[in-house]
Amino acid sequence: MLNFLEKNLPKIVLAPTTIVMVICMYGFIVWTGLLSLTKSRMMPQWDFVGLDQYRRLFANPRWDVAVDNLFIFLILFIVIALVLGLLLAIFLDQKIRVEGAIRTIYLYPMAISFIVTGTAWKWILNPGLGIEKLMNDWGFVGFEFRWLVEQDMAIYTIVIAAVWQSSGFVMALFLAGLRGVDENLTKAAKIDGASTIQLYWHVILPLMRPVFFSAIVILTHIAIKSFDLVQALTGGGPGYASDLPANFMYTFTFNRAQIGLGASSAMIMLFGVLAILIPYLYSELREKKS
């Protein structure tokens, strides 16, 4: 008996986590998936109506806006954060004297919650008293900056705040990558007469491929889950102009009592994450095998 216990201890230790995982992750996903096939509104009820909720979802202009916003946000956020992070990492990798201090400054926003970031930027971008007034005071009379309250521009304020928060992290990823580059390689390239720019473009950047890859996956993940930033910075407004899918899901599930519709939007978010995650994990596994 004791022997049996001793032999199976690892399994016993892992059992609670496994049970909770099966229920609270996979079980719940199935539950939400099933719910998205019903006409539940206020309370879950199990009249199945096929893909009706998904049809309603795709016909909903608010969902359209949220998805469009996600793409705008995703692309700008990822591209700007990557470029900025990479450049800062390269500059910081030039034997800078106060590197530690600068690195600390670049990265501290990552320790702050999106709610705080949103609150801060909401004040900075305040039309009237924020950056607009600062520029006017500094002599740029007539300078206007009202993105926060403009239908078409509100989503870009989310990009600004998110880049501010996450680009330091991308910098740290790239810096770690750059530190891992074999010095002999750079020396050899220099002996061959490569200029610094050539060196980075032809030798070092290709080596950073895995870093680009993981940075993109992480940033995508942050972007898809960005719910708090929108909530704090624009509240999804003006109107619902800066909603992201996560905010749509929250509003319809918890404020509008349309949980079937909310569930279908959550499932679409899950599929979106999977579409990015599966190729990533697949290539990771392949790399490991070879």
Binding site: L9, P10, V13, L14, V20, M21, C24, M25, Y26, F28, I29, W31, T32, P44, L87, L88, F91, L92, Q94, I102, I105, Y106, L107, Y108, P109, M110, A111, I112, F114, I115, V116, T119, A120, W121, K122, W123, I124, K133, L134, D137, W164, G168, L173, A176, S214, K225, F227, D228, A232, A246, Y250, T253, F254, M267, M269, L270, G272, V273, L281, E284
Partner: protein
């Protein structure tokens, strides 16, 4: 010739330094603005601008944010919610870290048929958008009688934090030579003895990384907080958001900023004290299993 080269080098260096310092200012600016705004009174905010230093610094906004600002209809300031967050964070961090350590140890050094699959399945939990579990979890908390309670939030954070903590410990323990385990087994040591006498003493860094990661994640959480808390049990992020969006009387930007700094202070302090481990956690989260 060499002096020409030197100047060229110097121009390059100056350029690099100015870019780096410029961006340091950009990153610091919001913190500066928050802090200076929190020390101004509302008159000065209206007449001055973002970058202006406070002429007559006052702690009025800090006091109000802490003890009398309104979040919705409740005007007790952030203090009660700050303590809610503390009461959520501590148990959640401790429990999820301990569970993660045991899980990681088992998965790394006591492989059995299916353990790799189990790890993969768990890893998936680090990536799912939580929207997909929000509703059923609310149902479950209701059934357990934990809806709108601090205990319920602790439970949720533990459940969805364990995927990360397990990942951290597992990846760390994989690097500890299996020969050590084999030798100890020959000496008659069992599962727990090996963990206690060999692994725990080697684990300080990974414990620090995991605790910091979990602390930051849970303190900064908003989604679970806003969905699973009720009036009086909200964590500080939710209270801050309510405070900023409550407009009783005029908008007090100084109070908003003081409140935001209060909400950010614990994680900022951890970052300043243990930045190295914080970064390691971030990149460990990025590193695949």
């Amino acid at each position: 010739m060499s002096s020409l080269k030197l100047t060229k080098y110097n121009i390059g260096r100056t350029f690099i330094y100015s870019i780096l310092i410029f961006f340091a200012f950009i990153y610091l600016a919001p913190l500066y603005v928050m802090f200076t705004t929190s020390l101004k009174d509302i008159e000065e905010i209206r007449s001055g601008n973002l970058m202006a230093l406070p002429i007559d610094p006052t702690f009025y906004a800090w006091k109000k944010a802490w003890s009398s600002a309104c979040t919705g209809s409740d005007c007790r300031g952030l203090a009660p919610y700050f303590w809610n967050s503390v009461r959520i964070v501590f148990p959640a961090v401790i429990i999820s870290t301990i569970v993660g350590a045991f899980n990681g140890y088992s998965l790394a050094k006591w492989k059995f048929k299916g353990s790799e699959f189990l790890f993969g399945a768990l890893l998936f939990g680090c990536f799912i958008p939580f929207q997909v579990i929000l509703l059923p979890m609310a149902k479950l908390l209701g059934m357990l009688g934990l809806a709108n309670t601090v205990t319920g939030l602790v439970l949720v954070h533990v459940i969805y934090g364990v995927a990360f903590t397990t990942l951290f410990f597992r990846n760390y323990y994989v690097g500890i030579p299996t020969e050590l385990v084999r030798a100890a087994k020959l000496d008659g040591a069992g599962f727990f003895a090996i963990f206690r006498h060999i692994f725990i003493p080697l684990s300080t860094p990974i414990f620090v990384v995991t605790i910091i990661w979990q602390f930051t994640q849970i303190w900064n959480d908003f989604l679970f907080g806003v969905v699973y808390s009720g009036s009086g049990t909200q964590p500080i992020t939710v209270a801050l958001n309510n405070l900023v969006n409550t407009s009783v009387g005029g908008k007090e930007y100084n109070v908003d900023m003081a409140a935001a700094i209060i909400a950010a202070l614990p994680t900022l302090a951890v970052y300043v004290i243990a930045g190295k481990y914080f970064v390691r956690g971030l990149t460990a989260g990025a590193v695949k299993g």
